[in-house]
Amino acid sequence: MLEPLQDEFMRRAMIEVTSIGIAGGGLGCWVVLYRLSYAAESLAHSIFPGLVLAALTGLPLIVGGIPGIVAAALAIAAASRIPGVSREVAIGVVVTTLFGLGVLLALSPDSPPGLQEILFGDILGPTDADLAAAAVLTVVVGGGLLLLHGRLLAGGFDPGAARSLGASPGRTEAALLVLLALAIVVAVQGLGNLLVVAVFVGPAAAARQLTERIVPMIALAVAIAVLAGIAGLYLSYYVGTAGGASVALAILAFYLLALPLGRLLSARCEKRTPVEATIG
């Protein structure tokens, strides 16, 4: 059980998945509650050309990722202003265009080896810079979520009344998307462009099955994300599967486990406190 910890690369990978798990699990709760799963996946795919350009020019991936995600957000905002084009359609068009552009660049004869790491991640080989970026990400996302908690909760519950409650829904959602974009840019290096969304959606969706309160949901989502990350690394170590994919599969396993467990818990809860026919 402790054997993998003997290896330096496994210890580093565990630090990486723990950091990404804390940020991804916490942020993911709001992604799920604000129904931003599609936006999260889209943002992750849309930074692909930026990452490929960074890899082609030998720059750190984060340098390509940030302008890539800003360009994607601006293109989505511009496309959704075209009359008759909904936001969902705009996201679909922009994201497939950007992803296609990234694939074109990635398949060019000049592309260096290792581009598949951008697609599938390199969780087992984080550099010192990757670890530092993941640690900073955890602090920034955690701090941001802590400060915004009250506004996020009110805005997600009742966007129509949020303004009269003093929680501008537009600004709150924009702040959430900025945190999400930042988290994706950093986490994509470990989990890959195709799999990164798993850590933002799976643990939170699993936690939602197990509790009906936001704070326990966040705590559970973080725990599941970290545990699934470590479980994925063990799977990768012993079975020899790809690191990022193993983490994504472990997250899925936790979700599948949470489904019946959640039903069981709510059935027991209802048995204990029968629904009263209270007069409203």
Partner: protein, 247 residues
């Protein structure tokens, strides 16, 4: 002594992208007044409520809202699945008094608990919001507006989907809140209820009439407000409004 109105509107026009949805709206709401807002779906009730909340700017006319406004909207399906307790929802009313980085703390939650007791839900404070009955959910949202310290309450069809005892309980609560000096405006489709309140405003893109129900509500006014949706009930003098379509 006549107290200052909480809301005053004259020649008010409100809409979206420069196109008015409602126009020619003029009324005032006094402290302690319960005003029914009658009108067909698409007649501009929600647009008027949004203008009163400050979400939409008037395109014309004058609107003066002298006190804090709180809204009690209809429950959305997504809210039933939201991981919050009744107390969490009531405490959201304190946010407007807190700086943006602060969440409701112990003092705010005590205030929210007090508001829940006031609306008769002290025992259910820890219950999940989505598990409450329709009437209880409306009460939680009213408690939230009490925590907001709002003197003007805007209720958007609060009685739809409620059974009779819940509806009567909620109506009694509205009466008690008005008796404390709050102005309450209630969008409704229930004519009989509207007749029991202090005033009625009929709206169908433009204001049809405003005033005490016994003075202004007659068949001609109702036909102008609802068009063909009014039916005479066979064998009686009673009239009913055809049920609205909810999308």
């Amino acid at each position: 002594m006549r107290s200052e109105p909480l809301i005053e509107a004259s020649g008010l026009a409100v809409g979206y992208n420069g196109e008015p949805v409602i126009s020619g709206v003029g009324f005032s709401l006094a402290p302690g007044e319960r005003m029914a807002l009658l009108g067909p779906n698409g007649g501009g009730k929600t647009t008027l409520l949004r203008a009163l909340l400050g979400e939409l700017r008037p395109l014309g006319g004058e609107l003066r809202v002298q006190s804090r406004c709180a809204t009690v909207p209809q429950t959305e399906r997504s809210q039933l699945d939201y991981p919050v307790s009744a107390l969490d929802v009531a405490a959201m009313g304190a946010l407007s008094r807190l700086p943006w980085w602060r969440r409701p703390g112990r003092r705010e939650r005590e205030g929210a608990m007090e508001a829940l007791r006031k609306v008769g839900l002290g025992d259910l404070a820890e219950e999940t919001f989505g598990k409450l009955s329709g009437g209880q959910r409306q009460r939680v949202l009213i408690a939230r507006s009490l925590v907001q310290d709002a003197r003007i309450l805007l209720l958007d069809e609060p009685f739809s989907g409620l059974d009779r005892p819940s509806s009567e309980g909620l109506e009694a609560l509205v009466e008690a809140l008005a008796a404390e000096g709050r102005g309450v405006m209630i969008a409704t489709h229930d004519l009989e209820q509207a007749r029991r309140w202090d005033s009625v405003l009929c709206l169908n893109r433009s204001q049809v009439v405003v005033g005490p129900p016994e003075e202004v509500l007659d068949l001609a006014v109702l036909e102008e407000t609802y068009g063909g949706a009014i039916v005479e009930l066979p064998g009686s003098d009673a009239r009913a409004i055809l049920p609205p379509h909810h999308h």
